[in-house]
Symmetry: C2
Subunit: 226 residues, 2 copies
């Protein structure tokens, strides 16, 4: 049985759930908070982060894979239906550049001072969000959205002319931020139009149905017409 250790609001975990669905694969989802680990998470991922995918590899042998970027590469290599990386070197490089952008740059500059401050800190019972951090994160988010708006004025999908793993990374991150109503969609029409297309994909439905106890999303969150 394939198992995904994840957190529902975590963008990197959402990436893997969307990829699994796009590939027609299922997994048992095990909600796992790294800060409450009793050693079982560290045993399958010494970095003690989610997501971790445990899979019976098609080439044989059980394998525990992390972080999200390595899981995406693994799934795209091991299950070749519906490829999520393009076929040419240049397009693959562009897709990977943007996946890294989200997993590293966006995570650090935007998620940490906003999403982590608003949700993770609450789940950890570590007090109120830091207002200065929220302000910094909000400013950084506006800069990132400007960049993605410009990209999407010049291409149909995040990394080029075809849907790819970069769209999944972007949708995972934007959906998590939209849960805390952090995105002013009307200021970024090209991003909004792209996100409307993403939202209508069956792979996004499961994601948009998750709720955090005591912290409801804005009313437009799972509305296809937002």
């Amino acid at each position: 049985m394939r198992i995904l250790y994840h957190m529902p609001h975590d963008p990197a975990s959402r990436i893997v759930r969307i990829v699994l669905f796009e590939k027609g694969l299922t997994a048992r989802l095990v909600e796992t908070r790294p800060w409450q680990d009793d050693g079982s998470l560290a045993a399958i991922n010494p970095a003690c982060t989610v997501p971790v995918l445990v899979d019976e590899a098609p080439t044989g042998g059980e394998v525990a894979i992390s972080p999200a970027a390595a899981i995406v590469e693994y799934l795209d290599e091991a299950y070749t239906a519906s490829p999520l990386l393009p076929s040419t070197s240049a397009a693959r490089a562009e897709t990977r550049r943007l996946c890294s952008w989200f997993n590293e740059k966006f995570e650090r500059e935007v998620n940490e001072p906003t999403l982590r401050e608003r949700i993770d800190k609450r789940l950890m019972r570590r007090g109120q969000p830091d207002y200065e951090l929220l302000k910094q994160g909000t400013a950084a988010l506006a800069w990132h959205l400007d960049y993605f708006a410009w990209l999407l004025e010049n291409r149909s999908w995040i990394a080029g002319e075809r849907f790819s793993a970069a769209d999944i990374a972007a949708a995972a991150h934007f959906s998590a931020l939209d849960y805390i109503d952090a995105i002013a969609w009307d200021k970024f029409p090209s991003v909004k139009e792209w996100y409307a297309r993403l939202k209508s994909r069956p792979s996004m439905r499961q994601i948009l149905q998750d709720r955090i106890n005591g912290l409801p999303p804005p009313s437009h969150y799972d509305n296809l017409d937002f």
Copy 2:
């Protein structure tokens, strides 16, 4: 002409130089300090970081690739001689896990408070290193070295029984830290024995010959018998 925009002391840039050499490829090296960018770095990498590789792809078209992880994947796919990722899914996943470990976790927990504080800050003329950060980084480095010592007591190379991109990532990071004499090699004999093997590879020679003006490395730095 293939061009690598890099900084000599930057571990991620070193990874790409070692990979190029291992693949039998050459590139013109252009030293590039992101904090002095006049817009030409941002034009080829909007994240404004090094390394960036500009290559005439074998499948046609010029391509600008970043960050290091995407460059390694690109080079291993485009130039198939001397593969740096293993052949099985499980081994590829383990190699990528450890490459990410260095590019993300190690960079943040160790390099930023030590290497960046000691070298980048000096090059930026931003004053003396912060002693508290150096102390934190040194403690984190000891924890990381313990982990790698344990790995290397249980396998011949960082990611398994064969030399891979994970060894290159580790050698690039450890060599940069060794330049500032941050590694107590004698406390970690399995890591030291592995690093002696790495140091003797021709791909490491060019790296170990670089010097930073006014900041000489310790005498053992480029000594094979250290």
